[in-house]
């Protein structure tokens, strides 16, 4: 049976992608941020997952405003990165696992989570930056990838509570798959940032640190917040942090913290990294 080896949270902002392309990891501005990923990479090498389920939001590459699914699952054998107009380097394609994806889709829908299915899905920086953060040092992506896109772009977006519920259903979906696969879940996005309006530049360290503690010990705190509350505290783009709850919902109520890292600013953003394992793994 497939099993979840753990969950990781990470920011996915384009500036990180550019920094990796330009090899700025060792520069004073970036060093502390990137150094904090070395323990994550070491953990991934140790647990050696077969599949990564990447929870992210599309920023207007695959989905235009004519058609915005609240939740969408990649159900393809391959996912391509492409020009999204931001000048980012296009990275190598990702191998999918269509049979596993369709199993997840069926299981989610049986559990009343009516997710959209995509047989073609371009993946943007929200997906690609986390993959590169973890595995750019390798000659090829060492895992199959399954993109799970959450609408955080055009409101109404799903509530934090709904993301947490999706995570719980995702766990059942993964653990009911008959193949012996090790699965890691990436909850990407956040933390606090607001790119737009006169309030642009918002970074809320207090709220970010409280959110990290909540995701570890008390997911109910974040899951209980309204979209407006999260926007007020974390910014219009910081609302992406609801996607961490998809990852968190897929783990036990009690988790062990393998790694906890926070840095700010990176570009306009607070960046939080967690590696969590089930307490009874």
């Amino acid at each position: 049976m497939a099993r979840i080896v753990g969950g990781v949270t990470t920011s996915h902002i384009p500036a990180i992608g550019n920094a990796m392309t330009e090899r700025l990891e060792g520069t004073p501005y970036w060093k502390r941020f990137f150094d904090g990923y070395e323990p994550v990479k070491a953990w991934l090498a140790e647990v050696n997952p077969d599949v990564a389920v990447v929870v992210y939001n599309d920023h207007g590459l695959n989905f235009f405003l004519n058609n915005i699914p609240t939740f969408a699952l990649g159900c393809a054998d391959r996912y391509d990165n492409a020009d999204e107009g931001w000048g980012l380097k296009t990275l190598a394609s990702f191998e999918g696992d269509a049979q596993f994806s369709w199993h997840i889709a069926e299981s989610l829908i049986e559990q009343q989570i009516d997710i959209a299915t995509c047989q073609e899905m371009l993946v943007d920086h929200g997906f690609v930056v986390p993959m590169a953060l973890m595995w750019r040092h390798l000659p090829k992506w060492p895992v199959k990838a399954i993109p799970l896109a959450v609408n955080t772009v055009q409101h109404p977006i799903p509530t934090a509570r709904r993301c947490y519920t999706l995570g719980k259903a995702l766990r059942k979906a993964i653990e009911s798959y008959p193949e012996d696969l090790k699965v890691v879940i990436f909850g990407t996005g956040g933390m606090s940032h607001q790119l737009q309006g006169e309030r642009a530049g918002l970074i809320n360290v207090d709220y970010d640190l409280k959110t990290m503690d909540s995701v570890i010990e008390d997911p109910e705190w974040l899951a209980s917040q309204s979209t407006a509350e999260i926007i007020e505290n974390a910014g219009t783009e910081g609302v992406e942090v609801i996607m961490w709850l998809v990852m968190r919902g897929a783990l036990d109520d009690r988790v062990n913290v393998v790694h906890k890292h926070y840095h700010t600013p990176i570009s306009n953003t607070g960046a939080g990294v967690l590696v969590l394992e089930n307490a009874h793994a």
């Binding site: 207007g60 020009d83 790119l195 737009q196 530049g201």
Partner: protein, 133 residues
Amino acid sequence: MAWRKHEYDEIPGTYVFDGKTAHRAYGLNKLLFSFNNEANRAEFARDKAAYADKYGLTPEQKKALLEDDFLTLLRLGANIYYLAKLAVPRGFSVQDAGAAFQGITTEEFKAALMAKGQGLVERLERRGGYWNG
């Protein structure tokens, strides 16, 4: 017929991209989305006004587009991620855009961001449990 009111409408300096905004700025965002394609970016660069007309922009939207007036574009309904497809290829960073939204210089905007990280390492040490190099 009415647009629903939201708690987030009251947050100052914040333009939440919801149905009301997406509806009135559909053409503008469709134009911005087209910049995923290099050929479209080049076509826009050759004749911006004609490109705006092709997507049926309102006179207000067109004026703001031609003047790189990001705050007005935002107020007229541009989605920030889509607006970046206009700004970034034309040499504006997200910090330039943020500074323009606030009416300050990019240097001032960046300095305010850097200030957010001051004392962070000591603070995380006091809090405990964080990786710190």
